[in-house]
């Protein structure tokens, strides 16, 4: 057996977490490395290799059944479908009563355990704390006062120079020192010393790196994408492995002298094939049945509701609308859309929150650019903010200053900042307010500053970007979005585009609450840019020629909704005509009222807010949450997301979906052959599926795949969080973000002819795989037949919901919200009860 260093490191990188530095939070499937396999095969294999908990335990499922969260009819149906009617009794018994052992034993970690068995030395304890500290210092973005010396030469070279220059040695023993300075240092040499036998090398490297998957993951990610740091670092996973091996040799030599042998020689077991197929076990079958039943207990309800609505919905509401508002597809916008519409006579639509315009954004006076589009897209455009005032630097917060930590200035600081600290703390507790230390969604862009939206022949040469868009480029984007969401006729006087962002304090994961379609940033610039494009006279002309006529009287207005503080800010209001300005002022009142109701609806999940209070008080409390240092849940993010509905608003307008559905507007009537459908759904699996799966795995195994509770988190080098001074980086989502989440896969529902949908998804292999490998479920509602079809093994088959009746909410909706149950604990059995069933609203 040979050891192919490059090959091993390459595959290793594939399996490590790929979460980048915290400043941009991009949701992705935590088990992305297994995405080529069928969902269940993939998760069970990942579990077997790495010890992840990928489903609930059997007891948890059985308890979910007992409390009624898994419906009996669905469970029985799943058993019949999976095991056949003839085996029903047998499997029913297994599912309900048979005992099975635990499943969470991992393949990796066993080889290196040998060190502890054979020698009086805990190698991880001897190496990890210092190794992590070196990595953190090296990658640090600005916490330390003294930067890592010689860091521009690469990690190992920096250490070499440092060791040469220092009066004390970095390594304790001679051999490690000599090896470090060896110009031909190779991984193979080091592994030969440590492991001896070649056939164990690969397993050893996996054991070693997965003992701290967080740090290895960030190193691997930064090797591939150094641009995700403001202060880029030269680092490679290979350097990390080399350094760790050197430190291990050093630790072994220091503790044991020559009295140790390579690990391979102390074991008589055969090397393990980590990635060998896993043996089929009955418990996997049982878990599959349970999990399907858990998912379908919700899906079935939702599909039945959609079908019921489809059967009764009028074809189209023809009355002229006061205004139209395009929101992000984000499931958190579902409730505010409902509240805006509830006052009647207006329409809301959904489109991915970058509104089809992809660019880098250069804020006034800033030294860097922000990418504002979905993560996989690489824009070639730049939008600059042109300041109208003199240079300003952001406000400094003295309590974060490095000077307060040094010897002399620190002493002065500790004399004079004590009392101000006390005053600040008291104010933070009793009257929280926005400050420069709090992530402010509205601070992303300055409304008073102009943007370079129209191309004027200028380019950004260093990064080869075109500054602004040409008329054709603008028209392309406006046309694509409007046709995609089916807004091609019946324009109202005002059309709003509302992006979203989120403000929060003391929240290193604040990026995860911003817009996923804008690479974890607020969508304000995109909304404003799109509105400006659509208002541009030449663009309108071009669009008219293409058969998309927007009335001259119609104006587009951009805005931003802060999903944590429940506030909306509008942009370029001054550019509206006096008449439209008046109309806009009236609409703003409606938005305000909708925000009130939205705050009330959200407050049902917040213990600290009494949902029965007056709207004004609730709004204030909601606003305060977003700026409170003591509040670990400024909002609940994407928790509970479960559906992605692509179709007319008519399908969902009268449904209470409890903020669980991504909603992309799409009108099959304006796109009967599915020309636009492909580009409409193309970004959805990556954005919505990524969010959904990250929530799924962070909820299922918050300890290994999630970041654990955020209460003890310590910020490491501004790039991640760890639990203590010596801990591994924690990738994934913290408990406070996922505790309300019911971990089920995304169910995508498209309103169209199944044949058209099949044709569209078959055209894109990347898209097709999401559905065929079952990482996302796909259902299609045939709009004219009023029938549901489910994508199964490459074809659409008819689906009849088991649920026959959807409950209709007869009472006042707000009363129902007030009396809704609150979870007692964040155990799944309690938490899941807070989620309300899908209901039809009767207006």
């Amino acid at each position: 057996m040979t050891f192919n260093e490059e090959q091993v490191l390459h595959t290793l990188k594939h399996y490590l977490p790929s979460q980048g530095p915290l400043k941009d939070f991009v949701h992705h499937n935590s088990l992305h490395a297994f995405q080529d396999m069928q969902f269940y095969d993939a998760i069970f294999k990942a579990s077997k290799i790495f010890g992840y908990k990928v489903t609930f335990s059997l007891d948890e499922y059985r308890n979910l059944y007992r409390i009624g969260r898994i419906h009996a009819t669905i469970l029985e149906r799943v058993i019949r479908e999976r095991k056949g009617v003839e085996h029903f009794e047998e499997w029913y018994h297994k599912v309900m009563h048979a005992p099975y052992g635990g499943t969470l034993d991992a393949r990796i970690r066993f080889l290196r355990y040998g060190w502890r068995e054979h020698y009086p030395l805990d190698l991880n304890n001897a190496v990890h704390p210092l190794l992590f500290r070196i990595l953190c210092s090296y990658l640090d973005q600005g916490i330390a006062i003294t930067p890592f010396p010689f860091e521009n030469t690469g990690l190992l070279n920096a250490l070499r120079t440092l060791e040469k220059n220092s009066l004390v040695h970095f390594f304790k023993t001679e051999r490690a020192r000599t090896l470090l300075h060896d110009p031909h240092l190779s991984l193979e040499t080091l592994l030969t010393i440590l492991v001896g036998k070649k056939e164990f090398f690969e397993e050893y490297v996996y054991d070693q790196q997965f003992a701290h998957r967080g740090w290895s993951g960030i190193v691997s990610t930064l090797e591939d994408r150094p641009e995700t740091l403001l202060y880029p670092k030269k680092i490679a996973l290979k350097d990390l492995v080399l350094l760790e091996c050197l430190m291990e040799i050093d630790a072994l030599d220091a503790a044991l002298g020559t009295a140790w042998k390579p690990l391979g020689e102390t074991t008589d077991r055969a090397p393990m094939d980590i990635f060998a197929d896993i043996e089929a076990k009955e418990i996997y079958e049982v878990i599959k049945i349970w999990h399907d039943a858990f998912e379908w207990s919700y899906y079935d309800e939702a599909l039945c509701a959609v079908l019921t609505i489809a059967a009764q919905a009028p074809e189209k509401n023809e009355a002229a609308k006061t205004f139209q508002a395009i929101f992000c597809i984000d499931e958190r916008e579902g409730s505010i859309r409902r509240h805006i519409e509830s006052a009647g006579n207006c329409e809301t639509l959904g489109a991915p929150g970058f509104f089809g315009v992809e660019f880098y954004f250069h804020p006034a006076h800033a030294k860097f650019y922000d990418k504002l589009c979905p993560a996989p897209v690489t824009p070639t455009f730049l939008i600059q903010e042109i300041p109208s005032s003199k240079k300003h630097t952001p406000a400094r917060e003295i309590f974060y200053s490095k000077e307060s930590h040094t010897l002399l200035r620190g002493t002065v600081a500790s004399y004079i900042l004590g009392i101000p600290s006390l005053i600040k703390l008291v104010f933070n507790l009793f009257s929280p307010a926005m400050s420069s230390a709090i992530a402010d969604a509205f601070g992303h862009m300055h409304d008073g500053y102009e943007l370079t939206i129209v191309y004027e022949g200028k380019r950004d040469e260093t990064r080869n970007l075109q500054i602004g868009f040409t008329v054709i480029q603008m028209a392309d984007r406006v046309e694509k979005l409007l046709r995609g969401i089916g807004l091609v006729t019946d324009f109202s006087r005002l059309v709003y585009l509302i992006g979203h962002g989120s403000s929060s304090a003391n929240n290193p994961h604040h990026g995860a609450h911003d817009c996923g379609a804008c690479s974890g940033r607020p969508g304000s610039v995109n909304a404003r840019v799109f509105a400006s494009m659509a208002n541009h006279p030449s663009v309108r002309e071009e669009l008219t020629q293409r058969g998309l006529e927007i009335p001259v009287s119609t104006q587009f207005v951009g805005g931003l909704h802060d999903t944590a503080s429940d506030e909306i800010e509008f942009y370029d209001e001054k550019k509206l005509s006096t008449e439209l300005h008046k109309l806009h002022a009236q609409n703003k009142k409606r938005f305000e009222h909708a925000l009130d109701l939205n705050a009330k609806e959200r407050s049902r999940r917040f213990m600290s807010i009494n949902t029965k209070q007056s709207l004004k008080k609730i709004r204030r409390a909601i606003k305060q949450r977003s700026v409170s240092y003591f509040e670990p849940r400024p909002e609940l993010g994407h928790g509970t997301n479960a559906l992605c509905i692509v179709g007319n608003r008519a399908l969902t307008r009268n449904l209470f979906l409890d903020r669980r559905a991504f909603m992309n507007s799409y009108d099959y009537r304006t796109d009967s052959d599915g020309t636009f459908l492909g580009s409409v759904i193309a970004p959805l699996p990556i954005v919505c599926g990524g969010i959904n799966l990250e929530y799924y795995f962070s909820r299922m195994d918050n300890s290994k795949l999630g970041a654990g509770t955020k209460l003890p988190h310590n910020v490491m080098g501004l790039i991640g969080v760890a639990n203590s001074s010596d801990g591994d980086l924690r990738a994934g989502l913290p408990l406070q973000m996922v505790e309300v989440h019911d971990p089920i896969r995304l169910l995508m529902i498209i309103e169209h002819d199944p044949q058209v949908v099949l044709h569209v998804i078959s055209a894109s292999p990347a898209l097709y795989k999401w559905f065929s490998k079952e990482w996302i479920h796909l259902a299609v509602l045939h709009p004219t037949e009023k029938k549901l079809y489910l994508f199964k093994k490459g074809e659409f088959v008819r689906y009849e919901p088991s649920t026959t009746l959807v409950s209709v909410l007869k009472e006042d909706f707000l009363k129902v919200i007030e009396s809704a149950a609150k979870m007692k604990s964040n155990d799944i059995l309690d938490a899941t009860r807070e989620n309300m069933p899908v209901q039809i609203l009767s207006h």
Binding site: K23, E397, S725
Partner: protein, 612 residues
């Protein structure tokens, strides 16, 4: 008159909380807050009283818990300027942090446990700050140690919190042992249990002999205030929720060493050498801590070392006799570091945003030449925290562990040990103080050595929990024998000592048996049984406290009396006792943590990686 309530009210709230269901967050937080708020009000009243009384220290003479010929345990309280300042800040910060935690800790499964621990900590701190004599102060001192252990291991199903809580506890235990030695010495020096009210008059009578006492308290203070070479524990203690790290390690717990120095200032103020030593150690700590601060790249550890730097400077101020400045510096530093810790998670949004507009890559300061060499050296030393942790392991813990492994044969002779104990004890009981003089030495030394050997073995024992528990028990038995033999104590006192230990032993055996009927529970790995058996775990924890002679059983008084009776010329015996005291505490906590804390190997629910 109100002084005892400072301790009793939080304890009352503690008791109330024990009976509340876990998810009654409002009530739990409400009761905890109310009790501390009441204490603050009473403190305000006391403050007025103190000011109107012309800043004369206040005292309260309570009852005498225990008294014998030459030992008195009196429940007395005392408040001078230092107490007033420290206690005021304690109340204020505890209230603010409790308010903060009410929201911050929401829905944490340990919400009630957190509040219980904070209340226990508050009561302990009140004891330390307001006690009228060293005996009471020491009780408070131990309470702080225990609550520290509990807060560091708050997330007890993970490996690092568990490991670090043991690490910190071990250091604290050393400080406690030195404290006991100091008490023993003081007892002989003053020939009675000193009350702080009579401090000044006593001090004048004894001149130079106070230096030893001062030096002992200095080391205790250095450990508790994380001064060099003990600084490494502070960042490692920040394993609990941010709020508890802020109040404990940003503000109150870490400054308590400073308070001890203030309280014991009459012992060292007269000695120029000691004052110089305090200043030098302070300066050294400040310099070394600041060199470590400079290379810290994580938010909380940076604040921890910055705080240590400031405490080093406070030591200098103290040595210079600037008491008021020290108090002001303490207050200001406590507020600042608490606040910085509380808002530390926000540094990501603040600094990234700030850098977005202002970033310039830092210039390389290290060049060739001598200055470059110094800088490179300081960088490596800072990164390795001046090898403090590893030196401590290499010099103390590793040799102990090796010795313990070598003593493995002791595992195989429980019967022999029982035999020896069964012969020695009744014999001793029969003869009591009339043991022939020649035999005293023999009995004393044999028991002393046996006791230490047993503790050392228990420390390294990776065999079954029950064997380890028994070894600790016999270690305690032999410790009691050697103390009583040398002290010439009567049967009465020995029984006093033994009742608590024996009860603890039996209860512990029962707990371990209930947990694992096969008695094969080993101490090689952590078992995390708290997950399955929280109640049993709590009972066993109290049992463990009793076994390590924590002041909840009569054993504590018994031990105190016996120790005080050791003549002043038997320093070596007291040193052995102190070693035994350190080891027994560590062994007990290690055993407890291995069985009930840490990640387990079970495979039916998720656990975090060892490194996280």
């Amino acid at each position: 008159m109100l002084l005892p309530l400072f301790v009793l009210l939080p304890l009352l709230a503690f008791a109330l909380l024990c009976f509340l269901p876990k998810h009654f967050e409002r009530s739990i937080s409400g009761i905890a807050l109310t009790s501390v708020l009441f204490v603050l009000l009473m403190f305000a009243w006391t403050l007025v009283f103190w000011i109107r009384g012309g800043f004369v220290p206040l005292s309260y003479t309570g009852f005498t818990l225990f008294s014998s010929a030459d030992y008195v345990f009196a429940v007395n309280f005392y408040m001078d300027a230092a107490s007033i300042v420290f206690f005021g800040i304690t109340c204020l910060l505890t209230i603010l942090v409790l308010l903060f935690s009410k929201y911050y800790m929401h829905r944490d499964p340990g919400f009630r446990r957190f509040h219980l621990t904070i209340l226990f900590f508050f009561a302990g701190l009140a004891l330390v700050i307001c006690s009228g004599n060293f005996e009471m102060l020491f009780v408070g001192w131990e309470c702080i140690g225990i609550s520290s252990f509990l807060l560091i291991s708050f997330y007890r199903d993970r490996y690092l919190p568990t490991k670090n809580s043991l690490k910190v506890f071990a250091l604290y235990r050393i400080a406690d042992a030195l404290f006991i030695v100091a008490l023993w010495y003081a007892h002989h020096l003053f020939e009675k249990n000193v009350q702080f009210t009579e401090f000044t008059s006593l001090i004048n009578e004894h001149g130079n002999s106070l230096v030893i006492l001062g030096a002992l308290f200095l080391v205790v203070a250095m450990i508790k205030s994380a001064q060099f070479p003990f600084s490494y524990w502070l960042p490692r203690a920040m394993e609990g929720p941010t709020t508890s790290s802020a109040i404990f390690y940003g503000a109150l717990s870490v400054h308590i060493g400073l308070f001890l120095l203030l309280r014991t200032s009459p012992f060292w103020e007269g000695s120029t050498a000691l004052r110089a030593l305090i200043a030098i150690l302070g300066l050294l700590s400040a310099l070394i801590a600041t060199s470590i601060t400079r290379v810290q790249s994580s938010a909380k550890t940076q604040i921890a070392y910055a705080s240590i730097t400031q405490i080093g400077i406070m030591f200098i101020e103290l040595a210079a006799g600037l008491h008021s400045l020290v108090l002001f510096h303490f207050v200001s530093n406590a507020f600042l570091r608490t606040y910085q810790l509380l808002i530390s998670p926000s540094i990501v949004s603040y600094l990234v945003h700030y850098q977005f507009y202002t970033f310039v890559p830092p210039a390389q300061k290290i060049q060739n030449g001598f200055l470059g060499k110094i800088r490179a050296t300081l960088f490596i030393l800072g990164l390795k925290e001046w090898n403090m942790d590893s030196a401590m392991t290499r010099l103390i813990w590793q040799p102990l562990k090796s010795a313990g492994q070598w003593l493995q044969f002791l595992d195989r002779m429980p019967a022999a040990l029982t035999g020896v104990a069964l012969v020695v004890l009744p014999a001793y009981g029969a003869y009591g103080a009339n043991v022939p003089h020649g035999m005293v030495d023999g009995v004393t030394w044999v028991s002393a050595i046996l006791s230490i050997l047993l503790f050392v073995r228990a420390y390294a024992n990776t065999g079954t929990a029950l064997t380890c528990w028994t070894q600790i028990f016999f270690g305690q038995i032999f410790a009691s024998v050697f103390l009583s033999a040398r002290a010439g104590a009567d049967v009465h006192t020995i029984l006093f000592y033994l009742t608590g230990i024996l009860a603890a032993y039996l209860s512990g055996v029962l707990c371990l048996k209930l947990l694992d009927r096969t008695s094969r529970l080993n101490l090689m790995d952590y078992h995390g049984y708290m997950y399955e058996h929280p109640i049993l775990g709590n009972v066993f924890f109290i049992t463990c406290l009793a076994m390590m002679v924590f002041p909840i059983t009569p054993s504590f008084i018994g031990e105190e009396i016996l120790l005080r009776s050791i003549p002043v010329d038997h320093g070596a015996l007291v040193a052995i006792f102190a070693l035994g005291y350190v080891l027994s505490g560590i062994c007990v906590m290690r055993l407890f943590a291995k069985v009930f804390f840490g990640p387990h190997e079970k495979t039916y629910h998720e656990i975090a990686y060892r490194s996280s």
